[in-house]
Symmetry: C2
Subunit: 386 residues, 2 copies
Amino acid sequence: MNLSDLPTPHLVLDRVKLQKNLDRMKERADALGVRLRPHMKTAKSIDVAKLALAGRPACITVSTMKEARYFAEHGLRDIVLAVGLVPQRLDEVVALLGQGVSLAVTTDMPEVAERIAEAGRRAGVTVPVMIEVDVGEHRGGVPEPVAGGQDRLLAVARGLAAGGAEVRGVLAHAGHTYGCSDREAIADIAETERSVAVDAATILREAGFGCPEVSVGSTPGALFARKLDGVTEIRPGVYMFMDLFQSGVGCCALGDIALSVLSTVMNHRPESGTAHIDAGGLALSKDRSTGSQALDLAFGLVTDVRGAPFPNLVVQSVHQEHGRLGLIDGLGTVPLEVLPVGERVRILPNHACMTAAAYERYAVVDGTEMGDRQPVVTFWDRVNGW
Amino acid sequence: MNLSDLPTPHLVLDRVKLQKNLDRMKERADALGVRLRPHMKTAKSIDVAKLALAGRPACITVSTMKEARYFAEHGLRDIVLAVGLVPQRLDEVVALLGQGVSLAVTTDMPEVAERIAEAGRRAGVTVPVMIEVDVGEHRGGVPEPVAGGQDRLLAVARGLAAGGAEVRGVLAHAGHTYGCSDREAIADIAETERSVAVDAATILREAGFGCPEVSVGSTPGALFARKLDGVTEIRPGVYMFMDLFQSGVGCCALGDIALSVLSTVMNHRPESGTAHIDAGGLALSKDRSTGSQALDLAFGLVTDVRGAPFPNLVVQSVHQEHGRLGLIDGLGTVPLEVLPVGERVRILPNHACMTAAAYERYAVVDGTEMGDRQPVVTFWDRVNGW
C-alpha cells in the first residue's frame, strides 16, 4: 500500500521528521539535566510513545483517564495525569493504582485533595498527587502560590496529609508561551515557570511535605528555557509532531512538521479561481490558532503530496466535509492547472492535537519523496475520547 | 445508571426533544409534499436514523462513504452521498452497488462523471448520480446552471451517458441560509434554491436525460420554504438535534436543543471570578459559528444538569481539555456558589455536527427533569471517520 491507495481524508505521519523531533527534545532534556516525561495528549499512540521513550525511563504524561488506562495496558505504568482531576473519576484512579500502576493525579483545590485522600484510604492505596501551581497562564493551578497564595497551596497539601494520598510534587504549565513569537520572551516565561514551581516546592518541603518532583511543561518552554535548576522533569507533547502554530511561535521550521492530512481535490470553481478538497472542518478541526499570529494560515497550509508548500495556498474556509482552497489574503487565484480533480495534496495543520483527534490511526511513511507512490510502512492506532 | 454515573465529558441526547424535532420536520415534509431524506451527517447513528424514518420510506443522505457502508449494513439501503465524490472512492461505490445497495453519488465535474461511468461499466453496474448545482453558496455545484453554466451542466450529464451511470437527479444545498437571521430571508433563498434546481432538472430532461429527482436541503430552508413545487425530496440533517447556531438563525428555541455535553466543574479561580470545566476544545469542538451572529455564545452556553441556562454563562475559552467559564461580554463574575467543584453542568453546542463527532456514543435520556439522577435509558453508537 502507498499514499495513493489511502482513502482520504487520512492522517499521515512522517516517521523521519518525527524521529528528528524526538531526538531534538531528548537532547534538550539532557542539556537541561531533567527527566523527559513526554505528554501523550497529542500523539495518543503507544507506538509513538515507545519511540519517544526509546532508551529512557518509561514515564509519560496523559490528559485523560482513557489514555492512562490505554498506556498502562500497553506496559507504560509510570504516569502523570496532568489535567485537574474531577472527583467522579476517583474510582478509576484507585482501580489503576490497585493494579500496580504508578498514576499521579493533579489538583489545585483543597476540597478535591480531601476527596482524593478519602478515596485512597477507602481503597487501601496511596494516591500520588501533583499540586498544580499557576505560573501566569491563569487556567489551572493555585494562584500566586509563592506570593499571596501560600495558604491555598498548603491547604491542598494538608488535604492530602491524612493518609490515602501523598504530595508527589508541584506541577506547572506555562501555556502562555503560546502567545509568544520570539525565543527571549519564551525563555523569560520559562524562567518564571521554573522559579515559581521551585519556590512552591520549597514552601511545601519546609512545611514538612515530601514533594520530590518539580514538573514543568510546554514545548516552547522546553525548547528555549535557559536553565531548569531545581526542576526534575519536563512534559512537552506537541513537539513530537509540531504544527503551523508551533512554527509561528518559532519552535520549528515548516519542514519539521511531521503530521499532515492527506486529501483529494474534489472540484474546481474556475469562475472564482478556487477549488475544494475533501478535508473540511471534521478532517482538519476548526482550530484557528494561527489567526492570532503574524502569519495567519486560515485552516491549514496546502502542500503537494511530497510536502512542498504551494506558494501562499491555504484552506481558506471549511464546511463539514469540504475545504475551500484560497491564497493568503486573496493574493491571486488558486493554481488549478497543477491541482486537477483527483490530485492528492497534504494539509499542514494549525494545531496537531486538535486535528489528529478526528482520526483513529496514522498512516506512517518514512519520508514522502516518492509522492503518491510513497509506501505506507505501517498504521499506528490512537486512543481518542475520555 | 444515571447522569451522575457517566464519566465526563460525555455526549447526552434528550430523546423527548429529539422526537419533537423529528416530528416537526416530518410535518414540514408532508406540508410541502416532498419526500424526507434525512441527512445523517449530524447524528451518524442507526438508532437516530430509525426514529427519523419511522413510518416513512427508508431513504437517507450521508456525507461519507463510511456512513454509507454503516447504514447499508444496518439495513438502510437507499442512500444519497451528498458530498462531491473523489474518483479514488469509486471502487467502494461500485462494491456497495454490487451488493444491491441503491447508492447515488454526487458530482459537479464532467471529468468525474466520465470516471464514474467508466467504473460502472467495468463493474457491470449502473451508478446513479446526482448532479450538484450551485444555487448561490458557491461551494459545490455547477455554477449558474440555468444562466450561463448550462454547458457544464450538460457536460456532466453527457459524461454519464455512455453506460455505467445515469442521471438520477439534480442536487442543491443552499448553505448560505446559515448566514440569515430571519425567516423571510431564508424563505427567499429557499425559493431561489428550488427554482434553480427545478430549472436545471428541466434543462436536463429537455436534453433527453431522465433526471427523476430534484433534491434540496438545509434545515433552515426545509423549515421556512414557502413552497417546494417541482422538488421531490429534502435533505435536512441538523434539525434532529438543533444547536445554538440554528437557534441564532431562528430555526428553534434554546429549549429545543436535544444535544449537550455533560461536564464537571474542575476548579475555581475566585480571584478572577471564573472556573474551569473538564470539557475543552476536544469535547466541544472549536466551532465558533455563533461568533458571526447577533448573540455570540463563545464555545457554548452553560446550563445546569436539568437544562436551565445559567444567565449569560458561556464557555469563554477552551484548551484541549479545559473549558473556562465566563459571562457574555464580561457581564459580571461566574456564580461560583452554585457551581461547586464536582458539580455537573451541560453545555449546549454551537454546532451539533462538529461537537458530536468527538464521541463514539450518545447517552440517551428521556428528559432531564431529574437532574443528576436522570436515568440513562440506553447508549447509541455513532460512526465517525471516513
